[in-house]
């Protein structure tokens, strides 16, 4: 069936697709998001196709390339249906065994199963793996069931039901009422109630209106928008169309950052197929509603994620922000009423319409409803995307789902909210994660980046890092942001290089206040947050840098030295051979020494030294021991 012209035809088409599918038929799925490309999923895919053919199974077994499952640390992930056997970190050489064992002999390949790092217990199925078990994957969950480039797959999981319901059973006002009732808040940053925003755009005078998907995802460390756009573009489009209908728009734009080529191509393919089936274009499902979408690529500017800058960029100009009001809802793209939402926000819309406001808002806290996808990354065992109900304790995300900090290191902080967010210390890990609680803790929800830091991460360096990022990305239009960030950055750079002075902290606080108050857009206004939150919770680290020229995390290069413990050195020569700067004084049966004048502090020696000796160490804020004499260096 090509064109689908009515809700009845939509359901007939779905029935037809489902009737041709046997849920008991073996199917082998492989995740194929960007991250898995990095871990070799392309080669695994080819190996699977080849093996399946070689075993003459092409008719009996389906192969499906899905989007990102979220457990990127363990990718590429192969799931075998109908059983749901989950194999992790699959490499091309494993494929032969998977096919012959699991398909032919119905046996499990034990070594590819999830293995609990603490108990050593294996888990055969996805739902037994702690990473997945503690999630509520209402939005992200579909990613693993469908091929993002298959209209039929999307139909098979209930695609376009929400659109059909909205177009035929609801007035635009009722759609807005449902979104308001669900209390859905924007997932892109500020958490503004989406229904209210839609209503403003609907009520704004004008015939021509626009809807926009913000997939600029500039927050470094967050990638849920990429995964949704790559893994389930149909759902984002469906949400967008429902919004367009509610607001009275006939045209939409998707603004994707150019660093996401796979998202762009999967989206383009989804649009092509939707158009072919009449689910984009004129008179959709025979409802009289017309809708078309254009894709616009960003060109590498963080500020373009901010909505007024995004609009400038869409118009083909430099993405400099404009003061609000006027809000885009009244005066947006080409001066017309425009509604901009984040990718994840749009992806929630079909859910809201299908489930209804009451069911949707059953999950979550008083002020934050539904689920939120976080990108749990940094110093945590199970890195990946996690979708959890709003209100879950932060500790559960990091420990129950994330499996804690690797390598026996101590947790120090978790950074949320990106460059305008803040760092949350251990003492606050029991807070419930929602918009208000995170803000109260001095951080924010932002787009959902959650970067875990351990004892080796220096908090002064982190705040310097964010300011460096922001000074690079500040568009320079307003002085408080441009100069404020630059001056704060200079002070922090001084601190991390041993040039901090008394009074710096007070000066930083003063600059932070000014920049916060006087900047034009939220980039500048939020820029002091990482500084203020780390100064609040980790003031002693700042003081150590300023007063004692010591980096307690042994991370700031200018403040540390590498030294070799003469008691522990076994003269194995590892560090000597690997040092790229020839800064090791070696010799057979001679205690090795770091030549401080030559040392570039690259850390190679520390890694080269066998763990059983552990002779190389970093020191900070204490004098380097005097070089040994030849006699002292000679081993007995």
């Amino acid at each position: 069936m090509l064109m689908i012209n009515s809700p009845a035809e939509l359901e007939a088409c779905r029935k037809d697709i489902l009737s041709k599918r046997d849920p008991k038929k073996p199917c082998i799925t492989l995740c194929s998001g960007s991250a898995c490309h990095a871990t070799g999923s392309e080669k695994v895919a080819r190996a699977i196709e080849l093996e399946v053919k070689n075993h003459g199974l092409d008719v009996e077994v389906d192969i499906r390339r899905t989007g990102c499952h979220g457990f990127c640390e363990k990718g590429p992930i192969v799931v075998i249906y109908p059983e749901g056997i989950c194999y992790l970190k699959v490499q091309p050489e494993d494929v032969c065994e998977i096919i012959s064992h699991t398909f032919k002999e119905k046996k499990i390949v034990e070594r590819l199963l999830y293995c609990d790092p603490n108990t050593g217990e294996k888990a055969t199925f996805e739902h037994d793996i702690p990473f997945y078990k503690n999630q509520e994957r209402l939005v992200l969950g579909l990613n693993r069931k469908i091929d993002p480039k298959s209209f039929e797959d999307y139909m098979a999981v209930g695609g376009y039901q929400a659109l059909s319901k909205a177009l035929f059973e609801m007035t635009p006002e009722e759609v807005i009422g449902e979104v308001k009732g669900a209390n859905l808040r924007g997932r892109g940053g500020a958490g503004f109630p989406s229904g209210l925003k839609w209503e403003m755009a609907r009520n704004a005078p004008g015939d021509v209106k626009y809807v926009i998907v913000n997939c600029d995802e500039g927050d470094p460390g967050a990638y849920m928008d990429r995964s949704l756009m790559e893994g389930n573009p149909f759902a984002v489009l469906e949400g967008l169309m429902i919004g367009a209908y509610a607001i009275g728009a006939r045209e939409g734009y998707v603004y994707v950052r150019q660093e996401y080529p796979l998202a762009v191509s999967n989206l383009a393919e989804a649009m092509k197929q939707a158009t072919r089936h009449g689910l984009l274009g004129k008179n959709i499902l025979g409802s009289g509603f017309d809708f078309t979408v254009k894709v616009h690529c960003g060109a590498g500017a963080f500020i373009c994620g901010e909505e007024t800058s995004l609009l400038m960029s869409l118009e083909g100009k430099a993405g400099e922000p404009n003061p609000r009001p006027p809000f885009p809802a009244t005066k947006g793209l080409w001066g017309k009423p425009t509604n901009i939402n984040n990718v994840e926000t749009w992806a929630n819309i079909p859910l809201v319409i299908n489930k209804g406001a009451a069911a949707f808002s059953a999950l979550g806290t008083e002020v934050s409803k539904g689920t939120k996808i976080f990108s749990l990354v940094g110093k945590v065992n199970n890195t990946g995307l996690v979708e959890v109900p709003m209100g879950i304790p932060l500790r559960d995300i990091i420990y129950k789902i994330g499996g804690g900090v690797p390598g026996g290191k101590k947790f120090k902080a978790v950074q949320t909210g990106g460059p305008s967010g803040g760092c949350i210390p251990e003492a606050l890990l029991d807070i419930k994660v929602d918009f208000e609680e995170l803000t109260k803790a001095g951080a924010m929800m932002g787009s959902g980046g959650m970067i875990v830091m351990d004892e080796d991460t220096c908090m002064v360096d982190i705040s310097r890092y964010f300011l460096e990022f922001l000074s690079d990305e500040s568009c320079g239009k307003c002085t408080p942001c441009r100069e404020g960030i630059r001056r704060m950055l200079r002070i922090l750079t001084d601190m991390t290089t041993g040039k901090g002075k008394e009074g710096d902290l007070e000066l930083l606080e003063e600059l932070a206040e000014t920049t916060k108050g006087a900047s034009l857009c939220a980039l500048g206004k939020g820029s002091p947050n990482p500084v203020l939150s780390t100064m609040h919770y980790f003031r002693e680290e700042y003081e150590a840098h300023i007063v004692h020229k010591r980096c307690p995390s042994l991370s700031c290069k200018e403040l540390i030295n590498y030294v070799i413990d003469p008691e522990k050195c076994k003269a194995c020569g590892s560090c000597f051979r690997q040092c790229p700067a020839e800064a090791i004084h070696g010799g057979k049966k001679m205690i090795h020494e770091v030549i401080q004048e030559k040392c570039t502090k690259c850390g190679t020696c520390l890694e080269a030294c066998p763990a059983r000796f552990g002779a190389v160490k970093k020191i900070s804020g204490e004098p380097v021991p005097a070089p040994l004499s030849e006699a002292q260096r000679t081993m007995a």
């Binding site: 871990t39 995964s227 616009h296 690529c297 500017a301 990108s375 690997q578």
Partner: protein, 150 residues
């Protein structure tokens, strides 16, 4: 890149001035940089003043007005990669290529760039060479990767 090809790109976007950024992105991605002749042509065909084109090409990081190497190295210095040691990876690559971020060597072999996040944060540190992703790269391994490129 010849004028004919540039015209094709412009025609694909119906010669719309509002598509300026998209047109420049396509030229950049095909040619790896934006030669003056190309910009002149775009300015002429879209009837957009050169000053605006210059503003755009300097505002957005994706554009380069100098030739790039045959192989483009992108090192992620996003937050997730930063806390996992991206700085050391960058330094190793600087050593191996003799380049600082933003530079291209005289033989036009490599260009070294930093990016703020590639969306593969779970695998940090991440580097990309000519569109091929490498995750969890240690400093020594990152320099090793370059040996595969001529």
């Amino acid at each position: 890149m010849d004028i004919g090809r540039i015209d094709q790109v412009i025609d694909k976007h119906d010669g719309e001035a509002s598509s300026l950024i998209q047109i420049l992105l396509e030229i950049q991605s095909e040619n790896h940089w934006l030669p003056k002749e190309a910009l002149d042509r775009v300015s002429e065909r879209l009837q957009v003043p050169m000053s605006r084109i210059q503003h755009i090409t300097t505002f957005y990081k994706a554009f380069s007005q100098v030739p790039k190497g045959r192989h483009e190295i992108h090192v992620c210095v996003g937050t997730a990669c930063h806390v996992r040691g991206a700085q050391r990876v960058l330094e190793a690559l600087e050593d191996a290529t003799g380049l600082k971020p933003g530079e291209t060597d005289v033989e036009l072999k490599f260009s070294l760039e930093t990016v703020n996040c590639l969306g593969c944060c779970a695998l940090g540190p991440v580097m990309v060479v000519d569109g091929e992703y490498h995750g969890n790269v240690a400093p020594a391994k990152s320099a090793e990767v370059l040996k595969n490129y001529e």
